[in-house]
């Protein structure tokens, strides 16, 4: 069942404005947090078990703990460059509750003693940009940002940086590069951003949802927050359900809820007459699950991992029996080829190569051994590059091929889709 914590008031238009937000308990937790010891907040976040909601699922508190004891200035960056196909939760959060994010960010900044933060937001999200700009102006006007916030002596400035269309900028070091005015290419690690990030200063990059959740850890306390979710995957999370379901949309559920509930009940189930074929559980980069696997999985990090996939950003893409897997993989490979930043050779060349091979299959020009080639390319892209984009391209290729090999073989042999019975021209127009 849906558990509305973050999204409790998302349906109320008044929640967007500062007044409406304050009426519904907004900024109370900020006042509470500013009275706390920053170290205690970090400890609380650690104890809450909050894990990064952007995709990697790295514990937020642990990340904060990597910051050097001293070292000024330090930056907090909010990763609002939501580009993973299938994900649209951050957009909802920024449009429906901009102040919720701002409050979460001020608390987080206070905890890590940062005096400057940026919200890096993808340029296509014009509504979110407008909504956040308005909210920031309101917050500055109300003294919630700037010097001496709420009389606590804590200073903090927040600004928005608008991206210009690059999926890779969702990677934290690429985002830092982009913010520095370079091309959005990931930087070598080590040094990690917590040590040397934006302009060589310690920097923490967190997802919108992670930062907003901090507010609720302060509000409910560690115990209260851990009430939902499982031992290792605590709290609730927004899931973006899309694809062939009756009611696609964002749904907040406690981690650990079964995928069956999410898809079949909450999202309205399959369209009439259709059968579930496969589910991509965490955005297009994560390995695909077959219908059987999906129906027995729970929506938490561990359960999904036990099926060899990842919870990722929580973008559940549902495929039914009308979807040709070769076609779907072609779309994904085109996407990664388009978005590879071109820095590391295995990714730059590998994504292009994969795209060519998959499209050769679609066009009926492939050889039998090209399936092995896809495996070879993918395996040699995984973990060989600076960032995870090459893994993100390789994982779907590997899993599609492993789980739906018959469709690929049929396509190579017959030159048309096994599911749809048509060739490339009819599918791609």
């Amino acid at each position: 069942m849906e558990v509305k914590i973050l999204s409790e008031h998302y349906d109320k238009p008044s929640y967007k404005s500062l007044d409406g937000y304050k009426e519904l308990g907004g900024y109370e937790d900020l006042a509470k947090a500013l009275k706390m010891d920053p170290k205690q907040i970090v400890e609380d976040v650690k104890a809450s078990g909050l894990r990064g909601r952007g995709g990697a699922g790295f514990p937020t508190g642990v990340k904060w703990g990597f910051l050097p004891e001293n070292g000024e200035p330090r930056y907090l960056l909010c990763n609002a460059d939501e580009g993973e196909p299938g994900t649209f939760k951050d957009r909802l959060m920024m449009e429906a509750a901009p102040h919720q994010l701002i409050e979460g960010m001020i608390i987080s900044a206070f905890a890590i003693k940062s005096h400057k933060s940026y919200i890096y937001i993808r340029g296509e999200y014009n509504d979110s940009i407008r909504s956040l700009e308005k909210a920031l102006a309101e917050a500055y006007k109300d003294g919630l940002l700037g010097k001496n916030i709420l009389g606590s002596g804590f200073d903090h400035d927040m600004d928005i940086y608008v991206g210009a269309g690059a999926y890779i900028c969702g990677e934290e070091t690429a985002m830092i590069s982009s913010l520095e005015g370079l091309k959005g290419q990931p930087k070598l690690k080590p040094p990690f951003p917590a040590i040397e990030g934006y302009l060589g200063k310690p920097t923490i990059v967190n997802n919108v949802e992670s930062l907003a959740s901090v507010k609720y850890i302060i509000r409910d306390g560690v115990e209260g927050y851990r009430k939902h979710g499982t031992e290792k995957s605590a709290g609730t999370k927004l899931f973006s359900v899309s694809g062939n379901v009756v009611k696609p949309g964002n749904y907040e559920i406690a981690l650990g809820t079964s995928m069956k509930t999410l898809i079949m009940d909450i999202a309205g189930g399959m369209k009439p007459g259709r059968k579930l074929k496969a589910v991509i559980p965490g955005g297009s980069s994560t390995p695909i699950l077959t219908a059987d696997e999906a129906m027995s999985a729970n929506m938490d990090y561990e359960s999904i991992a036990s099926f060899g996939s990842f919870l990722g950003s929580g973008a559940v893409i549902v495929l039914d029996d009308s979807n040709c897997m070769v076609d779907m993989l072609g779309i994904l490979m085109h996407f990664y080829h388009h978005e590879s930043c071109g820095q590391c050779t295995p990714c730059r060349e590998g994504t292009g190569w994969l795209n060519k091979v998959v499209h050769a299959i679609l066009k009926g020009e492939a050889r039998e051994k090209d399936l092995e080639l896809i495996n070879g390319i993918s395996n040699h892209m995984m973990g060989k590059t600076i960032c995870a984009l090459s893994d993100a391209a390789a994982m779907p290729a590997l899993s599609f091929l492993q789980k739906f090999r018959d469709e690929f073989e049929y396509f190579i042999k017959e030159g048309q889709s096994k599911v749809r019975g048509v060739g490339y021209a009819q599918m791609h127009h």
């Binding site: 210009a164 694809g243 062939n244 127009h429």
Partner: protein, 157 residues
């Protein structure tokens, strides 16, 4: 020769000091140039901007060419971008693009004869739950049908 309006130049000067490094201002300034240069950034505009910002042309050009939201070619008055990623394709985005291209008689990425429309296919725009969708200039239009998409574009013309 392209030149920003006085307000635009003022904007560039402000952006140059807004961030910790001057280089950070490249993206916002390019957006400004694109806005004032009929929706695209010409090579002359890059020369002009790099002179105005006092940064090497190569830096500006690198940023310009890296990001997809900057148009390196002229676009129509309405820049229609249809998301053709996985969720949208499942819901008929490719068919929609074809329908739009046929209706407005324009090839992908090119400006229509009357200079009104450019239709491009783009990657995920974060509107997967309301697929298929399109972005016309700055705004999203979601849950489209062939008819509603055409109607929307015609109304905007």
């Amino acid at each position: 020769m392209f030149k920003l309006s006085p307000a635009g130049e003022e904007f560039v000067k402000k952006e140059l000091t807004r961030y910790e490094t001057k280089r950070s201002a490249i993206i916002p300034c390019l957006f400004k140039v694109q806005e004032e240069n009929k929706g695209w950034v010409s090579p002359e505009a890059v020369t002009y901007l790099s002179g105005l910002m006092d940064l090497p042309e190569a830096w500006v050009n690198e940023v310009l060419n890296f990001y997809t939201m900057f148009n390196k070619e002229p676009v129509g008055k309405l820049h229609v971008q249809v998301c053709c990623n996985i969720s949208c394709c499942m819901n008929g985005a490719r068919e929609l693009t074809k329908h739009l291209k046929d209706t407005f008689n324009v090839k992908e990425g090119e400006v229509s004869a009357d200079g009104n429309v450019t239709i491009t296919r783009v990657e995920c725009l974060g509107s997967c739950g309301t697929a298929p969708m399109m972005q016309v200039n700055d705004n999203y239009y979601e849950n489209l049908t062939h008819e509603s998409a055409v109607k929307t574009i015609k109304e905007l013309m």
